[in-house]
Subunit: 277 residues, 2 copies
Amino acid sequence: MLVEHTDVPPGMTYRQAARKVVAMCVSDFAAKGVRPDSFMVSLGLRKGVTQRQVEELSLGFRDAGREWRVGLVGGDTNEARELVIDCAMMGYAEKVVTRKGASPGDLLVVTGAFGLTAAGLKILTAGAKGSRAFARAATKSVLEPTPDLELGVALAPFLTSAMDSSDGLARSIHTLARASGVGFELDRLPVGTGVRGFAASNGLDADRLVLEGGEEYVIVGTVRRGRLRAAQIAAAKAGGMLTPIGTATSRPGKVVLETNDGARPIRDSGWTHLRGR
Amino acid sequence: MLVEHTDVPPGMTYRQAARKVVAMCVSDFAAKGVRPDSFMVSLGLRKGVTQRQVEELSLGFRDAGREWRVGLVGGDTNEARELVIDCAMMGYAEKVVTRKGASPGDLLVVTGAFGLTAAGLKILTAGAKGSRAFARAATKSVLEPTPDLELGVALAPFLTSAMDSSDGLARSIHTLARASGVGFELDRLPVGTGVRGFAASNGLDADRLVLEGGEEYVIVGTVRRGRLRAAQIAAAKAGGMLTPIGTATSRPGKVVLETNDGARPIRDSGWTHLRGR
């Protein structure tokens, strides 16, 4: 469910918002290794909505339908005090990757870098500045998120657990830890290109951008150590990549980052609905 | 999609609202003859929502799940400026009854009477008064709508077209007429018990309560003339009833009511989102 005041930052068009709500579902499907077939959309429209805005929404659904080859097969329309779009998606899979299959010794892996989306949001909402190229990439990651469905489907046979990082990297890792009854020891943070520089020049904490951002729509999961190589080849064939960032441990719920100064705990922080950060 | 300011009248509890949004989907399934299997729910909750209210919602979903034997299998939670509940339902059928199968000569049928829900809404929102028994029945029809799933499933083999009357009887009949390329000649209006008396004592137009109410969640459809008897027996076996109220004609889009003074046109009026009535 996409809600205007929570999920539509300044600068996002209705077309992008419509595409985004489908992307949110596609991202969930990608992380579970499920190929979607079709989707339904319920719209809550403001009373003053214009013909143009409704057309923008329909273009966004068309964009999404073409991009991920899913058909819009139904839905509902209603009146609401702000734009609300709910998407329900249907699809098929032989195996669904859950959150609870990680075992101690498994490698923690991600399919992308983090921090860019949080930086983009700071640029759009808080006046932060970056180089032109960085700002373009960062805001694009917010306005036009691109979950990698083919990558998710290709990785499903290899992942012992996975989810998409819609509420941030730290929250995702803690969620997998709780669901699987393991802990995680990270040996590195998957910091996006340019994020440290952007953070420094705007007086922001780069680690927080990386750990607490959210809405990256990147897959966070685990693979058996001996399967990493095969999983990475499958990822490359699907046009993506898979980066190990740590190891599952037998200390349930404990998530730490190994640094030169020793192990630093990573808190279960990120976006919490009805509370914020 | 249920939206608080549009779909939750004064006097409706959160538990009833949650049950109602599932009832809205069940009603669609009943009219199509599809047995639902499971549903997903997306919630938009106000920032000040209480633990108690969230529990009420969960009780309403449980009520609905038990009543129509459907499982709540997933969903999403978000923050919104008013309560928004979106329900997506999945189910199975060998045949789906559409809106476009009516032929001239088919009988127009309904599975219930009309006017009670509109009366209930007048009682809840506009201070209208009725006898205690009538008021109880009328407000109950608003607060706890009861689509008849078993009846819909039993009738599916007989219906040539059908839909549920969520936007009112007149709108439903016109929609079937447009979709099927026929007209309809009504020989009677399916007026609910006590509705004429209630209308008279409150200075309201009974025909409008019957034709333009909405949210009755009654099935409006068509059957071949020679199949009426069999359809009525199937309805009775399912614990319901099927009442013929008119005939499909070969005058596309023309909907009239035969009266002692001749044919009176029935307008395509009812609830229109973003405009009201």
